[in-house]
C-alpha cells in the first residue's frame, strides 16, 4: 500500500502568482481519505452474493482496519469455524454477537469472552465498481 506525499504544484516564476495558489495544495488522495491507519489496513476482495443486504457485492473491495474496535452494527471480518467471513457485529448491553446482514438476527453467534479472537478487523469502506 503506497501513500503519496503531497506536493505543491505552483512553480515560482515571473509575474504575480495565480490567486488560486493559496487554494490548490495537492491532488485529492484517496489513500488518505480511505485509510487512516496504513500498517493495520488490509484490502480484501469479496466473492459471492450473500452480503447484498449490507451493500457488499460480488467483486467488491473491502477496506479493513484491524486496529479499531467494532461498534454496534459495524460490518466486521470474523474468524468463524476456522474461516474468515463478513458479519454484522451487534452489541446489546453486556452481550455482543454476530449476525449475517443487518435485518436478519436469527443466526446469532454469541461472542462471549472470545471477542478479541473472533473479530479479525472492522470494514471501514467498500469499493464498488459501477461500470
Amino acid at each position: 500500500m503506497k501513500l503519496t506525499i503531497p506536493f505543491y504544484l505552483h512553480k515560482v516564476g515571473a509575474g504575480f502568482p495565480s490567486p488560486a495558489t493559496d487554494y490548490i495544495e495537492d491532488d485529492l488522495d484517496l489513500n488518505t481519505h480511505l485509510i487512516s491507519n496504513a500498517p493495520a489496513t488490509f484490502i480484501i476482495r469479496v466473492q459471492g452474493k450473500s452480503m447484498r443486504d449490507v451493500g457488499i457485492y460480488d467483486g467488491d473491495l473491502l477496506i479493513v482496519d484491524k486496529s479499531i474496535n467494532p461498534k454496534s452494527f459495524s460490518t466486521v471480518i470474523a474468524n468463524v469455524n476456522e474461516e474468515l467471513v463478513v458479519k454484522t457485529f451487534i452489541k446489546e448491553k453486556e452481550i455482543s454477537y454476530l449476525t449475517s446482514g443487518s435485518k436478519n438476527t436469527i443466526d446469532k453467534i454469541n461472542l462471549g469472552e472470545n471477542q478479541e479472537v473472533i473479530i479479525w478487523g472492522v470494514v471501514t469502506y467498500v469499493i464498488h465498481k459501477l461500470q
Binding site: N37, A40, I44, Q47, M51, L61, E82
Partner: protein, 429 residues
C-alpha cells in the same frame, strides 16, 4: 572476581522478534492453520525455513531439506507452504512501521527482527511498555512477537531467548541478580556473536555458560579472542559496546539467483532466466534510487550430481556509466553469459549481482545520452507502476520468455499478495 560493579549509563535496548514469522504471515488470512503444524519452505521448495511451534514439537528441524521430512509431513498432516516473499515483505514493513511508533531509534536487523532503544522509558515501566508493543503488533498485523529488554544488545538477545519460552512474551533483564541467574543457565554457544569456532575455544577452556564468559579475566579475553570476542564479554557485563545501526544504510550490491525447477541445458533458457533476474534486480535498485556500475553473471551445474561433470563460472561486466535501466543491464548480462556458457552441461542455478551501486542522484552527468536517459526513465517508471498494479511481471520484456519451464518450484504457494491488486486476499461470502 566480578565485573558487575561498573558504573553503567542507563541504556535500555529491546529486541523484538516475530515468532515463526513466515508461518504467522500465512496464518493471517488462513485461520484453518492456526494451532496446527505449519512449515514454510525456501525458494524452489528446497528446505524448511519457518516452523510453527506445533511443527517443532513433531520434530521438524530448521534448514532440513524438504525431501527428508516428507514422511513426517504426511504422517502428521503438516501444512506446507512455498515461500511468498511479496506477502512476508509487506507484513514486515507494517510490523517495522508499528515498532517505529514506539521508538524512532530503530535498527531493522532482519525481515522479522528489530532492535530499538528504550532508554527514555523508566525501568519499572519497561515490562508494560514491551507488552503494549507486543499487543499492538499482534492486533494490527496478526503477528505474535517475543520481546527481550536489557542494557545491551547482547543481553537483549538473551532476554529475547527467554521471552520466547515465556507465556507473556516479554522479558526484562535489568537486575544484576536476575541476569546472573539466567546467564548461569545459558549455553555459551547460544550467545549472540559467538560463532562455532569461538564457542569451541570457550568450551575447551571450560567456559560453557554465559555466566562463566562474563566473569572471565580481561587478559584471557585479550590473549585468546579478537575485538568482537572482547565486545561480547563487555556486553554480557552490561556495558554497551555495540551500537544500534539506525541509519538505514543502502545496499551495496543486489543479488538475485535461483535454482531451476528442472535442469537447463539450452542457452536460450539460460538467457530467459538471466533476463528475469535482471528485471527483478533492476526494479529493486530503482526502488532505492540507485544505479549499478557492474553486473556479475554466474551459472553452475549441480555439485551433487555424481554422473555428470561439474561446471561453475561467473564473470563481471563493468558498465561505462551507472544505470538502473533494465534493458541496459540485461544487454550486459547476456554478453557475459555468452562468454561463460559452455555447451553440454546441465545447469542447475543461475544468478546475477548488480554491484558498485551508487546513489542515482549523485551519478555524474552522462554526456552520451541525456535524452535517451529521460525517455527510458519514464519507460522504467511505467513498468514498475504497472507491475505494482497488475501483479509482478505483468510487463516484462520478450527475452524473459513467457512459459518458463526453468522457473522455480512453488507447489504450495499461497498466492496472496497484500500489496498488489491482482492477488489480494479473497473472501467468500
Amino acid at each position: 572476581m566480578s565485573y558487575t560493579s561498573y558504573s553503567k549509563k542507563k541504556n535500555n535496548i529491546a529486541l523484538i522478534d516475530c515468532n515463526s514469522f513466515y508461518v504467522s504471515c500465512e496464518r493471517l488470512f488462513n485461520p484453518k492453520i492456526i494451532n496446527k503444524p505449519v512449515v514454510v519452505l525456501s525458494n524452489n521448495d528446497g528446505c524448511v525455513i519457518s516452523r510453527s511451534v506445533e511443527a517443532k514439537k513433531i520434530g521438524i528441524k530448521m534448514g532440513e531439506p524438504y525431501f527428508k521430512v516428507k514422511d513426517l509431513v504426511k504422517k502428521n498432516d503438516i501444512h506446507i507452504f512455498s515461500s511468498n516473499y511479496a506477502l512476508y515483505g509487506d507484513i514486515s514493513r507494517r510490523v517495522m512501521k508499528i515498532i517505529k511508533e514506539f521508538s524512532d531509534k530503530i535498527e531493522i536487523y532482519s525481515i522479522d527482527e528489530a532492535f530499538i532503544n528504550l532508554s527514555f522509558v523508566e525501568n519499572q515501566r519497561l515490562n508494560e511498555y514491551g507488552k503494549e508493543i507486543r499487543e499492538r503488533i499482534l492486533k494490527w498485523t496478526g503477528v505474535p512477537t517475543s520481546i527481550g529488554i536489557a542494557n545491551t544488545k547482547t543481553l537483549s538477545k538473551v532476554a529475547n531467548y527467554l521471552a520466547k519460552k515465556n507465556k507473556s512474551g516479554v522479558i526484562v533483564l535489568d537486575k544484576d541478580k536476575d541476569i546472573d541467574e539466567e546467564l548461569k543457565k545459558f549455553n555459551v554457544s547460544n550467545i549472540w556473536g559467538v560463532g562455532k569456532q569461538l564457542s569451541k575455544l570457550y568450551i575447551k577452556n571450560d567456559i560453557d555458560t554465559a555466566y562463566k564468559l562474563k566473569n572471565i579475566s580481561n587478559t584471557w579475553v585479550k590473549r585468546n579472542t579478537n575485538v568482537l570476542g572482547a565486545r561480547t564479554v563487555m556486553e554480557l557485563r552490561g556495558i554497551s559496546c555495540i551500537n544500534l545501526e539506525t541509519t538505514e544504510s543502502k545496499r551495496k550490491s543486489c543479488c538475485v539467483s535461483r535454482s531451476f525447477g528442472k535442469k537447463v541445458e539450452n542457452v536460450e533458457k539460460l538467457k530467459e532466466s538471466i533476463t528475469t533476474h535482471c528485471l527483478s534486480a533492476a526494479e529493486k535498485i530503482r526502488g532505492d534510487n540507485q544505479v549499478a556500475r557492474s553486473v556479475t553473471v554466474s551459472i553452475r551445474t549441480s555439485p551433487f550430481d555424481r554422473y555428470r561433470e561439474y561446471y561453475s563460472n561467473s564473470i563481471t561486466i563493468d558498465l561505462p556509466v551507472g544505470t538502473n535501466n533494465s534493458i541496459e543491464l540485461i544487454k550486459a548480462a547476456i554478453e557475459g553469459l555468452k562468454i561463460i556458457y559452455k555447451y553440454g552441461f546441465f545447469y542447475q542455478k543461475s544468478g546475477i549481482t548488480l554491484s558498485n551501486l551508487k546513489d542515482a542522484r549523485n551519478e555524474e552527468f552522462n554526456l552520451l545520452a541525456p535524452l535517451l536517459e529521460t525517455k527510458s526513465k519514464s519507460l522504467m517508471r511505467a513498468i514498475d507502476k504497472t507491475n505494482a498494479k497488475y501483479g509482478r511481471s505483468s510487463i516484462s520484456i520478450a527475452q524473459a520468455g513467457i512459459n518458463n519451464s526453468w522457473k522455480m518450484r512453488r507447489k504450495h504457494f499461497s498466492k496472496i499478495d497484500t500489496s498488489s491488486f491482482a492477488n489480494l486476499p479473497m473472501l467468500k461470502v
